[in-house]
């Protein structure tokens, strides 16, 4: 037992005061729950924005160079002319969509919102180890978001070099045409990185030192394990990106030549630095989704998670292997060919832990007593969509096949099956699951089901045809596909995809509507609406300041559901198993 400090840290002695005022309550707070909610609302706003950018991209691909309905008039002159998107503007939209979604939506939702909200509550702590650092990390995130969006309004406009910002295109103003926009991108990434590093340091310290008595590492819920491993990945990977962003800034503004061949620099250096961050990043954005979905699957199957330790070891393996596969983004970049072969093999290996996890999820629902709540539906769909995204990854992992599909829409399909079908579906599931705890109200289940089914249908309609587009030879990031002879016949697929994307956009309004009406009139949530075992369900919904009136004591793991010989089918971690009941070792 490494730690017993579960008391809230004594930063401020106002735990018992009610009248802290609007600013201290909502804007500058040291309470991890409120910081989690700050992240949640901000990132959902960014999700809305990033989705809008995606719709503009999709519109241009389906009906190139025609006036965009409604949104067209609001676009700046660098992006559109007479309401129709111009090629340079298209590059900006693609770049900003991806940057927003990766750094300002998926990471903040999984790590900032759920990480902050759940870590202290699920390990039985009163707050994070460093509450001030925690609030600082939120505001750094917020500021970096503003800086990024400001790029749309500077001379030259937003960067149009892709979220990967390959040098020397990104490093030389003469090539990219927007020194200021690209510099702001670099600054935003750098500050966003500081936020991630601060948050991750906090999470690691909290998980290691502040677990409640009895909460051994192998009694932690998989959500906590996934966030813990993710935090370690962040601390190791993000500084490399921050360094690269700083070097890019120097190349652009201070006359250095890190990446410019004319001054002796190396274009491939940028790619190595970027992907050394970028591949762990892929797992940073999926591990917490896996952890939360695992917990939701167990709760609504009323079963212990199948192979708990195998799940933990698989995540550790993913974390480790995630650092030695970055070169698979660079098979055909001009990197040494033997190196490509080596990265090809390590990439094949990283598919194994993902396969293990999938089989264990299936083992979890096997012989369960499955209740199809909206949260469960999203988590179940997460598994299926993740399987598609994982399987399509095998194509690119095979070095010769990558010669054909590299940089085509096949890759775009793959990342969206993992990032949307995986991470975002899981995030929706987690919102439906933890909303009652966060706000003391249940979300509407009927609207939730409508939201779920429409999301699933439109998602597949939007992204499945991209596999065919990619194999048909459609390159990424081209503003006007039909100008290529071989892409003309594929245009109907582009239109199907865009209609799916528009449907997906409108479906979001159902979700927003559900949140609004449920916050106002939703059914009052009891402490433990789902009969779940983890610690957050033993306290009030929403939990008070300091979380636990009394430091909880943990007696067993988080997955003791349907224990034979017991009346009820769950056994909270704070409850001792009755004398006559024997818990299975795992």
């Amino acid at each position: 037992m490494s730690a017993i400090t579960a008391e809230p840290p004594h930063i401020e002695d106002h735990a018992h005061h009610e009248d802290v005022g609007f600013i201290r309550k909502y804007l500058w707070t040291y309470d991890h729950k409120m910081i989690g909610l700050q992240y949640l609302w901000t990132a959902l706003a960014f999700l809305f924005l990033g989705g809008g950018l995606a719709l503009l991209v999709r519109y241009q691909l389906a009906w190139p160079n025609t006036e965009v309905p409604i949104l067209g008039q609001f676009l700046p002159a660098t992006v559109a002319s007479d309401g129709a998107i111009i090629p340079g503007g298209y590059n900006m939209l693609v770049t900003m969509h991806a940057t927003v979604m990766v750094f300002f939506v998926v990471m903040p939702l999984l790590i900032g919102a759920f990480g902050n909200y759940l870590i202290p509550l699920q390990i039985g702590a009163g707050d994070m180890a460093f509450p001030l650092l925690n609030e600082l990390s939120y505001w750094l995130y917020f500021i970096s978001g503003i800086i990024l969006l400001a790029a749309f309004f500077v001379p030259g406009g937003a960067p149009g070099t892709g979220w990967t910002a390959y040098a020397p295109l990104s490093a030389v103003e003469a090539y990219n045409g927007t020194r200021m926009g690209q510099s702001l991108w670099g600054i935003a990434i750098f500050i966003n990185g500081l936020s991630s590093i601060a948050g991750a340091t906090n999470y690691i310290t909290t998980v290691v030192n502040m677990r409640a008595p009895g909460m051994s590492m192998f009694r932690m819920p998989l959500t906590i394990w996934s966030l813990f491993i993710t935090a370690i990945l962040l601390v190791l990977a993000v500084p490399v990106l921050s360094a690269a962003a700083a070097m890019l800034f120097c190349d652009l503004n201070l006359g250095t030549s890190f990446f410019k061949p004319a001054g002796g620099g190396q274009p491939l250096l940028w790619q190595h630095l970027f992907w050394f961050f970028g591949h762990p990043e892929v797992y940073i954005m999926i591990l917490p989704a896996m952890g939360m979905s695992s917990d939701i699957l167990a709760v609504f199957s009323r079963k212990p998670i199948f192979g708990y330790k195998a799940m933990v070891y698989a995540m550790v393996a993913i974390g480790f292997l995630g650092f030695i596969v970055w070169g698979h983004h660079m098979f055909v970049s001009g990197m040494n060919l033997t190196l490509s072969a080596a990265f090809g093999i390590s990439t094949m290996f990283i598919a194994v832990p993902s396969a293990i996890k999938t089989f264990n999820w299936m083992g979890t629902v096997w012989r369960g007593s499955i209740e199809f709540t909206t949260a469960m539906c999203f988590s179940l769909a997460f598994v299926s969509m993740f399987v598609i995204g994982g399987l399509s990854g095998i194509f690119m992992a095979s070095t010769p096949v990558d010669l054909f599909v590299h940089h085509t829409y096949f890759i775009v399909a793959h990342i969206h099956y993992v990032l949307f079908g995986g991470s975002i579906l899981s995030i929706f599931g987690a919102i439906y699951f933890w909303f009652p705890k966060m706000f003391g109200r249940m979300l509407n289940e009927t609207l939730g089901k409508v939201h779920f089914f429409l999301t699933l249908i439109f998602f597949n309609m939007a992204f499945f045809p991209m596999h065919n587009l990619g194999l048909g030879g459609m390159m990424r990031r081209i503003a006007d596909p039909p100008i290529y002879e071989h892409l003309k016949q594929l245009q109907p697929l582009n239109q199907i995809s865009t209609i799916g994307a528009i449907g997906l956009g409108f479906t979001t309004f159902i979700f927003i509507w559900n949140i609004i009406i449920s916050l106002r009139n939703g059914k009052k949530a009891p402490n433990n609406p789902w009969n779940a075992n983890t610690l957050e369900w033993t306290v009030a919904s929403p939990p008070g300041h300091g979380n636990f009136p009394k430091t909880p004591i943990v007696y067993h793991g988080a997955y003791e559901y349907s224990v034979p010989g017991m009346e009820k089918d769950f056994l909270p971690q704070t409850e001792k198993a009755p004398e006559h009941v024997k818990l299975e070792a795992h």
Binding site: V352, S398, L456
Partner: protein, 285 residues
Amino acid sequence: MKFLLLIFTVIAAGLVPAEANSLYWAPPNVTVGGRQIDGILNFIFWLTVIVFFLTQIVYVYYLIKYRRKPGVKAHYSHGNNFLEIIWTTIPVAIFLGLGIYSNRVWADLHRTPPPDAIQVNIFSYQYGWEMRYGGADNQLGRTDIAQISTASKFGVPAEDLAGKDDFTSTELVIPYGKPVHVLLNSRDVIHSFYVPSFRLYQDAVPGRTISWVWFEVERAGNFELACSQLCGIGHYNMKAPIRVVSPEEYAVWYAGKVKAAAEAAQVEVPANNPSEKVAKNGPAT
């Protein structure tokens, strides 16, 4: 929820017989190496389709069979180590085998080009392509990266005699049935040589010459060379025609270009490259 996927997969798979020699709406492959790539692609396709349907059928069956019923309690089990070992070992074996086989093909595709391969130097720039051929002596002048400038677009040193008779073309003309070895360069940012029908992609990196790309086309046809690496505002339209012709036709075309180059060289002594148009260095504004 799987129906949509089913429909799409059937559409994709159903097109294989519909358009012979073409894979899931992919443009027909025309190179020797592309056959090997399509072979692996096909194998992975069927592997993933089978794995997908097997797992999803079992999964959906479980979801239906084990839905909540009154009075039925879930089975209490924390897992099974034997199963864990099984479903770890089998994927390891499959993926390792696939990885090793892939790398053998990868090595084969990148073996040293045959000595009789036709060499073409492809220069990319924002936003276009220039192809340089060996000229009368069939020898390309060697590109010295440091000497690339507006005056010397290909960076061939003046003292390099092999470069004197080189000629350039805005279209890539190659014969079928012969190995073609391309040397890739870029004058500004990273571009890429991408021809889906050739099953071929390779980045052209400024400051370097990429020298390991070669292929052999099997039949005549017209194709498009596309840049597939985001390279700036004009990226979407950075393409060049590729004409694959019979060896005889190629010889005629080649002789014509050599003759034209020689005539142009006599007009403007001392001869530099008979440029067809001035290269744009830097972005078009």
